[in-house]
Subunit: 211 residues, 2 copies
DNA sequence: AATGATAAGTTATCAGTGATAGATTATCGC
DNA sequence: GCGATAATCTATCACTGATAACTTATCATT
């Protein structure tokens, strides 16, 4: 029967006390530079100034570390969406603005976007299996905010589709297609990027809203 | 100065003489079951009835093997697109049909689709680096056929966009978004699939063509 | 039919991966 | 100082993709 001691916060060996943050920072930098697959746990550990097994005191698996980075980045997206809600109104202009928030997020946080929507869980369920659906849940949250906007447009009779949920899903797919292709195939001979994004949003608007 | 001997076809040890085909067949089955990442070269070799290093007599790397599978599958898509050209006409109905050919291909050949459009080359260029852009080239070919259709529609004044190339790219992105999300996130609470696809195509049509 | 050349396949091995076990060191309350 | 525990390290495991060196089967030719 052990005494229920108070887990007093204690400074680790390293330095300030934020080992976990240091690891996440180092990992994010490496992932952004070289991609998720090619970065090894040993490289992360070295960049964080610790030994490789020490990582496993803070993260159960490499995937858990990645998922954590993803969840944090999505918190940023949620914040942006929330901020955008301030000047929301059921108008085509606000629609365009919301689309661009999503696209900008994906292109600015490609690693987070990858983990959330582009990396597959293995068929036998290794990746993200015990991670539950944490990063996915973060994405679902964003999706809900999205669905609310579309429902609002639908309620005002501005949508060209009777089922707002279905419309939300097709719009999301439309956005995801551009973001994921730009991330995965940057070397493709795309037309000028700004024009591409603007054209894409315009196409989605024409397809989703009544003219 | 070696005599330019005739490389007479010779039966290998194994059986019929189609070792390479046997390997590709075994690999495709395994990849479809368990995903690209989790299947090891040893598993492929065992399924093909040879030792693991023997694979490297036929494929320089595992990625080359994957790329080969992709190229073959894309030949199938090219064939479908070509077949679809038979009853092509610059009409909304034909547009819908072409969209569906693409979506159906992606959903029926998810492994090929993954390799062609969803798997990223590592930033430092390991994957598909020496593979050149073979599978990518196969995709580009498909893209061209697509661009031809859009240009035809544009020439007949049916498009809602002045730049047919940009429109082709946004449409492709729109298609890719649905296909890749359905492949990567099948567990997401989608609306009924057929209605989703039909709705997606309808949205793309309204966004791309004049009503 | 025996021969040399070559293709096809083998076993043994390498460096690198994610992850675990057990010993070791630092830091705490007392 | 003391014991307890958190934090970290070294050593190691099973497995990965890939290579080297050797052996065996098949061929064209004599």
């Amino acid at each position: 029967m052990k005494a229920p001691q108070v887990r007093s916060p204690r400074k680790p060996k390293g330095q300030g006390g934020e080992r976990r943050e240091e690891i996440l920072d180092a990992a994010l930098r490496l992932f952004s530079d070289k991609g998720l697959q090619t970065v090894s746990t040993r490289q992360i550990a070295e960049a964080a100034g610790i030994s490789q097994p020490a990582l496993y005191a803070y993260f159960a698996t490499k995937d858990d570390l990645i998922a954590e980075l993803c969840v944090r980045a999505f918190a940023g997206l949620a914040a942006r969406m929330e901020a955008g809600k301030a000047d929301w109104s059921p108008t085509p202009e606000a629609f365009d603005k919301a689309m661009r928030v999503y696209i900008d997020f994906g292109l600015e946080q490609p690693d987070a976007y990858r983990v959330a929507f582009m990396i597959e869980k293995s068929h036998d369920g290794s990746f993200l299996a015990r991670t539950g659906g944490r990063p996915m849940a973060a994405g679902v949250e964003t999706f809900k905010a999205f669905a609310a906007m579309i429902s609002d447009l639908h309620a005002h009779g501005l949508t060209a589709e009777d089922d707002p949920l279905r419309l939300t899903q097709t719009l999301w797919a439309g956005l995801h297609g551009l973001v994921s292709l730009l991330i995965a195939r940057p070397e493709f001979p795309w037309v000028e990027r700004e024009a591409l994004i603007a054209g894409h949003i315009a196409m989605l608007r024409r397809g989703a809203l009544t003219s």
